[in-house]
Amino acid sequence: MLDRTPPDDGHVVLSSITKSYDGSTLVVRDLNLSIRKGEFLTLLGPSGSGKTTTLMMLAGFEYPSTGQITIDGAPVHTMPPEKRNIGMVFQNYALFPHMTVAENVGYGLKVRRVPRAEIDRRVGAVLETVHLSALADRRPGQLSGGQQQRVALARALVFEPSIVLMDEPLGALDKKLREHLQFEIRQIAQRYNLTVVYVTHDQYEALTMSDRIAIFNDGRVQQLGSAEEIYARPVNRFVAEFVGDNNCLKGRVTAIEGEIAHLRLQDGTVIRARATGHVQLGALSTAAIRPEALRMDAAPFAGSLAATVRDSIFCGDQIRTVVDLAGTESLVVKSAAHSAAIHPEKGQCVHVGWAWEDAWALDA
């Protein structure tokens, strides 16, 4: 993927935001986020990590307990939602059941007292964009899930906000439709040069759509970066485990040679990994290795570990092999199905290894 990220212009800035609903537990802690004009930023994280809360503070439905939010330098965190000019797509779409599709979409213009003819024109144009012109007079109850989603999108776009927030907009749709709409949303965002803050549970959605991803956990941004960065260079164990598959091996750091950390696993085996800021001599560390970075062979090779095949699963384009190491640990190896690599049998003894650059020694 090309790096489409625009330069940091501080379009929307959240600085030192904390949020607590009950006054004691912090749902968002010390959040600092600078969103660039025209970028597609995804908030990705487990349930309860504070994504919706962050979005609600941006939209104006919740107010930060401390900290401030600025748009183009102007503080907005005490402004009511209707003054912020931010479009929003809700998870369950929140379409108004008593209005037709056209009335739903035109609502934002009507409350702005746009003349009738102008409303009709703009509603028609935006319905065209989301391919719903034929359904303008239906009620939301008479639409499929995907069509409802498009109405919600049209409604958030019609008053031409520069910022659009989307809270798991595709969560309720099936996979095929979701992929199709991901593409459409992405295209519309580019066409209108929208700044999109997008919340999702689905990491593949995040990886394919976003310019940048903010990984949330426990009310904090764990890592902020492009999809490639997050996937290839996780900054901590949470990110490594949360995004994609990763093998995690826990061990004590016995030596650090420049960029290479030596970890002694529980059974005494010593492995090599790329040292990060988390690594301290004598402390525990977790080495994260992508399944596709592992090499498996029948014969031992430099730095390889002996293992026994527990299971081998054919997944169409690839084979996933689970191998048990000498100790309690096990690894998942991904290999291309058509490759010349061995197709191991259950119980077979194999050797697995990796280049040290591909393993990341992170926090324990």
Partner: protein, 409 residues
């Protein structure tokens, strides 16, 4: 109508299903249906019958009837009248006849009793001209057309007499046959008053109840729970107790007057009790839960994200509420208002205890004609008109409520 093939075959199949199967789903409701039949349908039928039956005149005066169609009859008519009365006296039909004729003509009751005193076999045996003289001599009313009209009115054992009376049509005449202006009750006004009071109470409960229901439905914390508790609290005491407590509050040296006096808002105690104000105040308090509860349940089902969506699109809080929340709450408002309105139409105890003479509603008169005046025909007719009126008003509204409560997706 153009049915698709599958629809036709479906109907056909449904028609073929044995009766046993079609009744199956209804079986659990049978006890309730039996109860309804016994305690709603049967009494209604009896009320209908009582309102339409008018047997006294035709039972007591079978022969005289034939002469009554054209006002004061000739001598033969009077002879028939006396002959009838002699029989009626034996059969004990005098009292009902006297009461029934009094409904139709002023002085009818006295005319019957006066005549009964002289009517015997001896008089009946005299020649018609002498009979006529004796009859008109007993009470001069008999020589005037009014009473004969009243007899003609009751010619059939079934009539619309009581229904007309209940609808405010003047049914009583003066002895000389003119419509009597001293109509005891103007039922048209009473129905109008009943509807006006019911509408006022309904309107007030909606206006007071809407914000209350909104707060209860949308607040998650303690406030909502406390408010719903307060709304339900009146249900724990009887209607009578609640009405009596209004007497305590509103009487001359009651709580309200004490407060007004203490606040310097009035120099001397206001007459609050036995007024329209007291009636409406008490009725609003009693009806509030009925209006509020359906509103709450409908409002709870409105997702908070709808108003948020409206706000995010640029609507202020009030505008978002009015254009997005309120339309979705309408089925609840309609259901609550309908319930309260229909219940109000039948209010009896509260206006009777805290209202003045001019605040009594239809039910008060139904009770009065049933218990005091023993005019069951009129009481039944009044009930029938009330039921019919309530149905006419409630049916379209309840269909609206039904359609909209099941039509949400």
């Amino acid at each position: 109508m153009n049915l698709s093939p599958s629809a036709t075959s479906q109907t056909a199949r449904r028609q073929k299903a044995p009766l046993r199967h079609r009744l199956g789903p209804v079986l659990p409701a049978l006890p309730m249906l039996a109860f309804l039949a016994l305690f709603l349908v049967v009494p209604l039928a009896i009320i209908g019958k009582t309102a339409l039956s008018d047997p006294e005149v035709s039972a007591a005066l079978p022969q005289a009837l034939a002469y009554a169609a054209d006002g004061v009859p000739d001598d033969a008519g009077f002879a028939a009248l006396v002959a009838d009365l002699v029989e009626a006296k034996k059969a004990g039909l005098m009292r009902p006849l006297a009461r029934r004729l009094e409904y139709g003509v002023a002085g009818g009751s006295a005319a019957v009793t006066d005549l009964a005193r002289i009517a015997d076999a001896e008089l009946a045996a005299q020649d018609p001209a002498a009979i006529r003289l004796a009859v008109t001599g007993s009470n001069p009313i008999w020589s005037q057309p009014g009473i004969w009209q009243a007899i003609d009115q009751g010619a059939a054992p079934w009539s619309l007499f009581y229904l007309k009376w209940a609808l405010g049509v003047p049914v009583k005449a003066t002895p000389d046959g003119q419509p009597a202006s001293d109509g005891i009750h103007d039922f048209g006004t009473i129905y109008l008053r009943t509807i006006v009071i019911s509408l006022l109470v309904t309107g007030l409960t909606v206006v007071i109840g809407y914000p209350l229901a909104y707060v209860v439905a949308t607040s998650s914390g303690m406030i909502g729970k406390v408010l719903i508790f307060l709304v339900l609290l009146p249900f724990w005491t009887s209607l009578l107790v609640r009405t009596m407590s209004w007497i305590v509050v509103l009487q001359k040296n009651g709580v309200m007057n004490d407060l007004l006096l203490a606040g310097g808002l009035t120099a001397e105690p206001l007459p609050l009790l036995y007024t329209r104000f007291a009636t409406i105040l008490a009725m609003v308090q009693i009806q509030l839960p009925f209006t509020v509860l359906p509103m709450i349940s409908v409002m709870r089902a409105i997702p908070p994200s709808h108003v948020r969506a409206a706000r995010s699109m640029g609507a202020g809080p009030v505008s978002a509420h009015v254009s997005v929340f309120m339309p979705q709450a309408v089925p609840g408002i309609a259901a609550g208002a309908l319930l309260t309105f229909v219940l109000c139409l039948g209010f009896y105890l509260t206006p009777a205890l805290v209202g003045g003479p001019g605040d009594q509603m239809v039910s008060f008169f139904i009770a009065r004609f049933t218990n005091e005046q023993l005019n069951w025909g009129l009481a039944s007719a009044l009930s029938l008109v009330l039921i019919a009126g309530a149905t006419v008003i409630a049916l379209p509204l309840s269909r609206y409520v039904f359609r909209h409560s099941s039509g949400r997706f």
